[in-house]
């Protein structure tokens, strides 16, 4: 969504006052202070890479969500809401909530009881070294690339919004993240993510509140959107019966099976960037509660992301357009919708807080990438394949240096993207190649004890290669879209949904077939890893209102009600 911003207009959208600059500077000082303060509490591997496994459910839950709530997430989905209407909310509700609850109730016990330090680490325990190596190398490679792309996109945002030099934005933000993560490890990243989560809400919440006051409430907003755009823009499900009846060009099957079942479950349950936060919880109940707390707040995020995009459809005097059209006409693009709304309502002070929220979002996402990369590199690649028997202090030292190297690679990627903009589109697609098959491998590993090591490895490899193959097929022959996405009218997002679904199916089928042709592990070796042979602690003595299952049911109920209300 962000790529073409590189060619966007150079005139700044907002001008900061002295008080805005002080607020931004104070934020940088505070995150660095937290890093320095926590340096003394990151001396062992368990401390540095797993935050000592001491986080409460609230801290782990907010951090779990914050690592995902990057500034590109904020600005990109606000832009999508302006472009596609309330359909963008699917990526926050059905595209997140069921998966987060599934992680909490079904998968978390196996991650936590196995005492793994990473998702590739779980694959090692369940399927063997080859599956771990494949998963770890692809994850580490893609994570630093994505981090660099996000860094570059954020620098572009700062250039467009504030007129800041791209080099200045890249280096100041990346050095800050490198310092506080290298000093305090995962604990520092988590603490700062919770702080950043609060600042994002403090900085962004006023926009929908003032916007609703200006338009005269939700009912008037719907009327104005129907007048300015289309009544379809305010319906979540009723327009999804056909590819042609909604602005996104997507069918409900793509949303339910592709987004909710495969992509969302893949991301929220197997992407180590977010799962790492939950693994740092102090006990199993906290680890199960953390994603549920995250899910509850995730349901609220559309209020500060989607609603501003919808409000912009009603109140902005100018019509926003795609990047190319915006450059041609000298106007504003979809991607600028959130800064435009910020500038509309926020004077000195509030503007600084809003910009701080965007910077905080970027830094939380980047710290998440870097800390996850550091752990996977040190434990799943360096210790597993290069240096198996070093003392714990050596791995901590490796983690600190790896943090700095990871940030430098990200900076390098940012400059590479600056020179070759098309890389951005390719890498974003590449990242999606690994998510869906990985979910197939992990879920079979946890729920089906007959799955074997060779089955897991070949399934993961076949799923990934099939995803890459489908992507290349459509690139070379666009008419292939009718087969991959079931419709020649499907847009990019719809294609991603279906490609993910097919690659997941390929992964599962190959895993099952190879597993039946190979010898399974005895049950005793699967204890703690697989459903049916793992003793999961019961919670009979805990009052019902403290049980994760109860709160998962509450969140699920609210989720269903919200979908019906905005049907």
């Amino acid at each position: 969504m962000m790529p073409a911003m590189a060619v966007s207009v150079a005139t700044r959208l907002v001008h900061l006052s002295a008080v805005d600059v002080v607020i931004i500077a104070f934020y940088f000082a505070l995150v660095l202070a937290i890093g320095f303060y926590l340096k003394g509490r990151a001396n062992t591997g368990e401390d540095f890479f797993m935050a000592g496994r001491e986080m409460t459910a609230w801290i782990a839950g907010l951090s779990f969500l914050s690592a995902n709530l990057g500034s590109l997430e904020l600005m990109g989905w606000a832009a999508a809401a302006y472009q596609y209407g309330i359909l963008a909310t699917h990526w926050y509700w059905i595209g997140a909530i069921p998966a987060m609850l599934f992680l909490a109730i079904v998968m978390m016990p196996f991650y936590y009881i196995s005492r793994t330090h990473s998702v590739p680490g779980y694959l090692k325990l369940r399927f063997g070294e080859s599956s771990r190596a494949l998963s770890a190398v692809s994850f580490a490679f893609m994570t630093v690339l994505m981090s660099g792309i996000n860094m570059y996109s954020m620098a572009l945002v700062m250039k467009v919004v504030l007129g800041w030099d791209i080099n200045f934005s890249i280096w100041v933000s990346s050095i800050t993240v490198a310092v506080y993560v290298a000093l305090g490890g995962l604990r520092s990243a988590i603490f700062n993510e919770v702080l950043q989560f609060i600042l994002i809400w403090a900085g962004a919440l006023l926009i929908p509140i003032l916007g609703l006051i200006e338009v005269g409430g939700w009912s008037n907003l719907k009327l104005q959107i129907a007048h300015n755009a289309s009544a379809e823009y305010t319906h979540l499900w009723s327009t999804l019966g056909s590819f042609n009846n909604n602005p996104m060009g997507i069918h409900w099957t793509g949303i339910v099976f592709g987004l909710a079942f495969v992509i969302s479950c893949g991301y929220w349950t197997t992407d180590f960037l977010v799962v790492q936060r939950v693994l740092a919880a102090k006990d199993l109940r906290s680890a199960k509660m953390a994603p549920i707390i995250g899910a509850a707040f995730k349901m609220l995020v559309p209020f500060i992301v989607i609603l501003p995009g919808l409000l912009a459809l009603a109140v902005l005097p100018v019509k926003l357009s795609g990047e190319a059209a915006a450059v041609g006409s000298g106007g504003h693009s979809y991607n600028e919708v959130l800064p435009l709304m910020l500038a509309r309502y926020c004077g000195p002070g509030l503007l600084g807080l809003g910009i701080t929220a965007l910077i905080a979002g970027f830094m939380s996402g980047m710290a998440g990438n870097v800390s996850a990369f550091t752990t996977v590199w040190t434990y799943d690649i360096y210790r597993a394949l290069i240096n198996k028997n070093a003392p714990d202090a050596h791995y901590v030292s490796m983690g600190r240096w790896c943090t700095i190297v990871g940030v430098l690679i990200s900076v390098g990627t940012a400059y590479l993207v600056m020179s070759f903009l098309s890389i951005m589109d390719y890498v974003q697609a590449l990242f999606s190649f690994f998510i869906a098959p990985l979910f197939g491998t992990v879920i079979l590993g946890m729920l089906w004890k007959r799955a074997t090591g060779p089955g897991g490895f070949w399934g993961l490899l076949a799923g990934t290669l099939s995803s890459i193959g489908m992507w290349a097929w459509v690139k070379m022959d666009p008419t292939a879209l009718r087969y991959v996405a079931l419709s020649p009218n499907a847009r990019d997002m719809a294609e991603n949904m279906y490609r993910a679904l097919w690659s997941w199916i390929v992964c599962v089928c190959v895993t099952v077939m190879v597993s039946y042709l190979t010898t399974p592990k005895p049950d005793v070796e699967l204890s703690g890893l697989v459903y049916g042979v793992t003793a999961i602690p019961r919670e009979d003595e805990v009052p019902f209102y403290q049980r994760p299952l109860f709160w998962a049911a509450v969140v699920a109920m609210v989720f269903v009600i919200l979908n019906i209300v905005f049907w």
Partner: protein, 71 residues
């Protein structure tokens, strides 16, 4: 968590307190010195009351989670 570790909520309190103070200050200043190009809904003085909300929350968090209170 170790007993004497400063909780994250205290850092959040500091952040809200300082930001609230700066924003409410800027908001009150604007009430007496209205800008030539005010933002939309300027008459609601969002800076003043939103800054005050943040300031109060910041004070609450700082007091509630002050390190000396952690036993």
């Amino acid at each position: 968590m170790p007993d004497r570790e400063i909780p994250i909520w205290f850092f959040i309190g500091i952040s809200l307190l300082v930001n609230g103070l700066l924003i409410v200050g800027a908001g009150v200043w604007e009430i007496f010195h209205p800008p030539t190009n005010p933002v939309v809904l300027f008459h609601l003085h969002a800076s003043a009351w939103w800054g005050a909300v943040l300031l109060l929350l910041g004070i609450l968090y700082c007091v509630r989670f002050a390190p000396r209170r952690q036993s």
